[in-house]
Subunit: 610 residues, 2 copies
C-alpha cells in the first residue's frame, strides 16, 4: 500500500480562475440561498424541537438533520478563510439548539424525538446513523475551522450511546445503518482525535455489513444498501449509488488506517466496476431512478439518466481517497472528470439552484408526452434547476464540496509532493511552498513553482485525456504521473497539456450511444443545446474530420466549441430510400456540459451522431 497524506483544503489557497470564481459564488450566494430555502421549509426551525401534532410548523423529516449538518460543515469551511463570516452566528445558534435539545442519554435526532420517539433505532432505513455521520463531519470541520468543540462534544455523547446500543447491548433492531455515511465520518473523527473507539465503531459497521440478513427497506432487496455480501467479497457495485460510494470511501479509509490489503483489493475491483462499466462520461453514476441505483453494466441511458449530483460527489470522494492509498493517476483522472462535469452540472451558473438528476440528453418535446414518461418507466429528469427539493441532499453537498475543493489538489509524503489537479493556488506542504499558475481548463499550460523542497520529488498527474504534452524538465513516468526531481530552493517547471477537441466514442456495449460520439476538450465534456443552434441535436451528424474552433466564453467561464456537421433534411416522409435524404452542411455550437440548462428550457445532448 502506497500511502500518501491528503493535503487539506485549509493548507491551500486558491487564487483565481475557474474555481476561485465558483468558490466565491458559493460563499457569497449559494450558502445563503441554501440557508434561505432551509429556513423557508422549516429545516432550521426544526432544531427548536417544538413541532407537535397539529402545530402549524412543518413536520420534520428524518433526513432533515443531515441537510443542516452539511450546511454547517459548509459554513465551517468558509470560516476557515473568513472566521467572521456572517453565517458563523447562525451555525452557532444551531449548535446551541443541539446542545439544548440533545437527549439525556446522548441521542440526537429531531424526527425520532419530536415525531416518532417510539421508532428510535427501530427502522434501519430511517437515516439516524446517517444523520449522525453528517453531524460528525460538521463537528470535525467546525472544530478545525474555529477551535469550537461544542458540536464534537455533542456527537461524542451520541457516539458513546451508539457504541452501547449497537456494540454492547445490541438492542437496536438492526446491526448496520441502511444509509452509509457514519463509517467514513467516524474515521475522519478518528484521524482528528486519534481515539481508537471511533475507528473500531467504523470497522464494526463496515465489517458487519452483509454478514447476515438484515431488515430490508420497503421497496428494495439487500443490494440496495450493499448488504448482499460481506464488503470484502463485493466486486460489483450495486444498489443506491450514493450509499455505495460513501461505503466504498469508508472502506478505502479503513484499508488505509489498518493496512488492510484485502479491503483495498475490494475497493480496486469496485472502482474498476464503476469506471469501466457503469459511469457516464461526465462522471455521473447511478443510471436509474429506481433506487437511485447502479444497474447492470453498460446500462447508461442518456435521457432518463439519474446520475444524482450527490452520487458524483460520492464517486469523487471515493476516487480522492483511493489516490492516497494506491498510487495511480486514474484516481485523479476520475476526480477531474467529476469535478469539471457531473458535479458542477448540479448547480446553476448563478449559484442559486440545483439539479438532483443530471441527464445527458433532454428532448423537450418528450416532456409533454405522457406516453414517453410511461415508456421510460422512469421519470424524465426536470429541465430547470430548482432552489430546493423535498429530499434536499444535493444542495448542501454542493456547498461543502465547493468550499473545500482545494483539498483535492495535492497529496504528500515525507519526501514527495503530488499534484493531482491543476488549480491556481498557493499551498504549504510539509514545510515546502508550492505555487501553481494555470488557466486550466481554458488551456493546459501549468507552471508549478516550489520553494524549500530541494531533494524532494514532484509527482504531477498526466491527465489520461492528454496525448500531446510537454514538460520543461526531465521526468520519469510512474503510474501515470510525471516524476520530477526538485533541485534548488526555487524550483520551477512548466507543463503544457495541449487542449485539443477530442471525439470520444463509447464502448459498443453501451447501446444508448450507438453510432455517436461525445466531444471533449481537456477534462470538459461538451453538449449541444438547441438554444445555440437552429436545429435539434438528433438532426445532425458531426463531421469529425473538420477542424473545430475553440473560443473562450465569459458566460461559461470556459471554452465553447464550433464544429462542422451535416444536417439531414427531414421532409422525406416516414420511410424513404436512403438516397432521398439530402444533407446540408451546418455549423454546430457546443457548450460545456456543466453549463447546460442555464438559459431556459432547451433540448440538449452530449452524445451526437457522427
Amino acid at each position: 500500500m502506497k500511502k500518501l497524506d491528503a493535503v487539506s483544503f485549509d493548507k491551500v489557497s486558491i487564487s483565481d480562475g475557474f474555481w476561485s470564481d465558483r468558490i466565491d459564488r458559493n460563499k457569497n450566494v449559494t450558502v445563503f440561498s441554501v440557508r434561505d430555502r432551509f429556513k423557508a421549509t422549516g429545516r432550521f426551525e426544526a432544531f427548536r424541537f417544538n413541532w407537535t401534532e397539529g402545530s402549524d410548523i412543518p413536520k420534520p423529516h428524518y433526513f432533515w438533520d443531515s441537510d443542516v449538518a452539511k450546511w454547517i460543515e459548509s459554513v465551517a469551511y468558509i470560516l476557515k478563510d473568513e472566521p467572521q463570516h456572517e453565517l458563523r452566528k447562525e451555525a452557532e445558534e444551531l449548535i446551541e439548539l443541539m446542545e439544548k435539545n440533545q437527549c439525556e442519554d446522548g441521542y440526537f435526532n429531531i424526527y425520532h424525538t419530536v415525531v416518532a420517539p417510539q421508532l428510535r433505532f427501530k427502522n434501519r432505513d430511517n437515516h439516524e446513523l446517517y444523520c449522525l455521520g453528517h453531524f460528525i463531519e460538521a463537528a470535525v470541520a467546525f472544530f478545525e475551522a474555529t477551535g469550537d468543540g461544542r458540536l464534537l462534544e455533542i456527537t461524542d455523547r451520541y457516539i458513546d450511546l451508539v457504541i452501547k446500543v449497537f456494540c454492547e447491548e445490541k438492542s437496536a433492531d438492526f446491526v448496520t445503518p441502511g444509509h452509509e455515511e457514519i463509517e467514513l465520518a467516524l474515521i475522519r473523527l478518528y484521524r482528528l482525535k486519534k481515539d481508537k473507539k471511533y475507528l473500531e465503531l467504523a470497522r464494526f459497521f463496515i465489517d458487519q455489513r452483509g454478514q447476515k440478513e438484515e431488515q430490508l427497506c420497503d421497496w428494495y432487496n439487500s443490494s440496495y444498501n450493499q448488504s448482499h455480501l460481506p464488503v470484502r467479497q463485493q466486486k460489483e457495485v450495486m444498489g443506491h449509488s450514493v450509499r455505495a460510494c460513501y461505503l466504498y470511501s469508508a472502506m478505502a479509509d479503513l484499508a488505509k488506517e489498518t493496512d488492510d490489503e484485502e479491503l483495498l483489493e475490494a475497493c480496486r475491483a469496485l472502482f474498476d466496476d464503476i469506471t469501466e462499466r457503469k459511469m457516464y462520461i461526465t462522471g455521473g453514476v447511478g443510471s436509474s431512478c429506481h433506487g437511485e441505483a447502479f444497474t447492470v453494466k453498460y446500462d447508461l441511458p442518456n435521457d432518463t439518466a439519474y446520475a444524482e449530483t450527490c452520487a458524483s460527489i460520492a464517486l469523487m470522494m471515493f476516487a480522492d481517497r483511493m489516490k492516497d492509498i494506491d498510487l495511480d493517476s486514474r484516481y485523479g483522472d476520475i476526480v477531474e472528470k467529476t469535478i469539471y462535469n457531473g458535479i458542477i452540472s448540479g448547480i446553476s451558473l448563478d449559484g442559486r439552484s440545483f439539479f438532483y438528476e443530471n441527464p445527458l440528453e433532454i428532448n423537450i418535446a418528450d416532456h409533454s408526452r405522457h406516453t414517453s414518461l410511461v415508456r421510460h418507466g422512469e421519470r424524465l429528469p426536470i429541465t430547470k434547476r430548482k432552489e430546493v427539493f423535498d429530499c434536499s441532499c444535493c444542495p448542501p453537498n454542493m456547498t461543502r464540496f465547493l468550499a473545500s475543493v482545494g483539498g483535492h489538489i495535492f497529496s504528500c509524503n515525507e519526501k514527495d509532493i503530488f499534484v493531482h489537479q491543476f488549480i491556481p493556488c498557493n499551498a504549504q506542504i510539509n514545510g515546502s511552498f508550492v505555487n501553481i499558475e494555470t488557466e486550466y481548463p481554458k488551456n493546459g499550460k501549468v507552471r508549478i513553482s516550489i520553494k524549500d523542497a530541494e531533494g524532494k520529488r514532484l509527482f504531477v498527474r498526466i491527465p489520461a485525456w492528454c496525448r500531446n504534452f510537454s514538460i520543461s524538465s526531465d521526468y520519469e513516468k510512474i503510474n501515470g504521473y510525471a516524476v520530477i526531481g526538485v533541485t534548488g530552493d526555487d524550483f520551477e517547471i512548466e507543463l503544457d497539456f495541449k487542449m485539443e477537441v477530442r471525439f470520444i466514442k463509447c464502448s459498443e456495449l453501451v447501446r444508448a450511444n450507438e453510432g455517436k460520439c461525445a466531444v471533449m476538450c481537456g477534462p470538459v465534456v461538451y453538449c449541444m443545446e438547441k438554444t445555440d443552434n437552429d436545429f435539434e441535436h438528433y438532426e445532425i451528424q458531426l463531421d469529425t474530420a473538420s477542424d473545430p474552433q475553440i473560443c473562450f466564453s465569459e458566460y461559461f467561464n470556459a471554452n465553447v466549441i464550433r464544429l462542422n456537421a451535416f444536417r439531414n433534411k427531414i421532409d422525406c416522409g416516414l420511410y424513404s430510400d436512403i438516397s432521398d435524404f439530402e444533407k446540408e452542411a451546418v455549423e454546430v455550437r457546443l457548450i460545456p456540459y456543466f453549463g447546460f440548462a442555464n438559459r431556459g428550457d432547451s433540448s440538449m445532448a452530449v452524445w451526437l451522431r457522427y
Copy 2:
C-alpha cells in the same frame, strides 16, 4: 367516391408459391394446432355451459367466445375449398351447442351466462358485442362456405335482442361497445342479407361513439376505445390499436354503403396518421404495451415494440377496405407491407406457434436484466413464439387471415379489373378469367393473362417500393396504378418490378432509428439475427455502397441477403478516442423479418447502423 367491388377469396384459387405453401400449412397444421390448444385450455368445453363454481373445468373468460368464433370462421374458409374437411364436424358441434345453449331471449355469451349473468350488458369493456361481432363474421363465412344458416339464425336472434336493448329500450349500462368489431361484422352481414336493420345497427354504434361520455374501462381514458370524439371528428389515431383499426374498417364500410364523404374524409385522415407517423416499417402498429395502443407520433421504439399481430391484421383490413372506395395504390401498398412482414411474423414457419407482439429488435442479454425491464416500463416482448396465450386473439386471427388471403388480390367494377397484390392464382371476375403467374416476392416478374375481358381496363398497382420496372404494354398511370386497355379475348401482359436491395431511412423524427437504415428487397423487410452472424447487430455498420447479394432460401421460402459491413472492435474500454476504434470488414447475413425467431433465441434487429 370511386367504389369498387371486392373480389372475395372464394372467387380466387391460389395455385402455388409463397402463399400457397402458407395456406396449405394453415389448413393442415395451424388450424388443428389452434383447435388443440383451445381444447386444452377449455375454450371448446365452455360451449357446453357446464361450468359451475367449484367445478374442476376451467372458468370461461369473457373473450373466449370470440377466439372460438374466429376459429369457426377459419374453418369455414377452409370448407370453401374442401367441403368435407375433417374439421367441419367440430365446427358444427360448436354451432349445435350454441343452438342448444342460446338463451330464450336470444342472448348468447358463455361467461355472462354461466359465470356472471348479473353482469349482462353492464360492463362496457366485457366484450359481449365484440364476441357477437365475431360470431356474425363466422356465421356469414359458414353460410357462404356451406349454405348452412344455423349460426346466422343464432346471431340473428341475438342481434334482435341487441336492437331492442340498445336502440329501443336503451336499457344497457352503455351505449357503444368497449371493443369495436360488431360494427364491421354487421355491415358484412348487411351485404349478405341486404336487410337494412343490420346497417342501421352498425350506423348506430358508429355514430353514437364519442357523442357523450361513457363508462371508462378501469385503466384508460376515453381515447383507449376511440370514444373521445364523435368518429367524424377523429383525425388522429388513438388508443388500443386493434379496436381502432376495427372501428376505422367499419367506418370505411359504412362510408361505402352510405356514400358518406365526410366519413371517408375522416378515414383518409386516420389512415394518413397511421401510415405517415405511427406505423413500423413492417406494418406493425400500436407501439406501446400500455393499452396495446397507438401513442404519439414518431414514437416507434424497436425493442419494446408491441405491434400486436392482430393490429397488423386490423390495419390490413382497414387498408383493404379503403382501396375499394378511394382509388389509390397506397392502400394496396400497406396491405402488401403488412402481409409480407408484420402479420406473418406472428406465426412460426412451421405453423404451430405465434407471436402476440412483434418487436423490431431483440437483445437477448436484456432479457436477463431485471433493470432493463424496469427501465423500459413495458415488458420486453417474448423471444420465442408460443402455441397459445391467455388472451389468444392472434392465433385464430392468423388462421382466418391465411385461409382468406386470396380476397385481397383483386377488385372490380363493371368495366375494370384491379390487381392489387401479386400472388399466382386463377380468378373469375365479372365473367372474365384472370390468371397471374409470378414468383413474387422472390422476384418481381408478373405475367397476367385475361380471357373474356375485351374492352375492359386492367389496373395494376405499381408498388411504391419500386422505381425500376417495365410493362410489356402501353399504359397510363392513374393514382399509382398502371392502367392498360385489354384487347382481344386472350390478353396477356408482363410486368417486371425489379427487386433490388434498398436501404431505407426513417424520418429523423423517429428517435429510435437515428443513424440507422432498414434493408428491404421488394415488399420484404429484412433483419439481422445473431444466429447467422458471428457478431451482434449493434457491433456493425452497413456499407451501403457495397453490392449486396440476393439468394433464395428454401428454408424461408424467400430471398436472403448478404451485405458488406464494418465491425467496430469493442475492446477499447468504456470511453476512448474515436481514432482508437478499429474497424474490420465483415459480411452480414440478413433474413426476412417475417422469419425471425424460428431457430432458437437470438438477438435481432431490423434497423442497422450504416
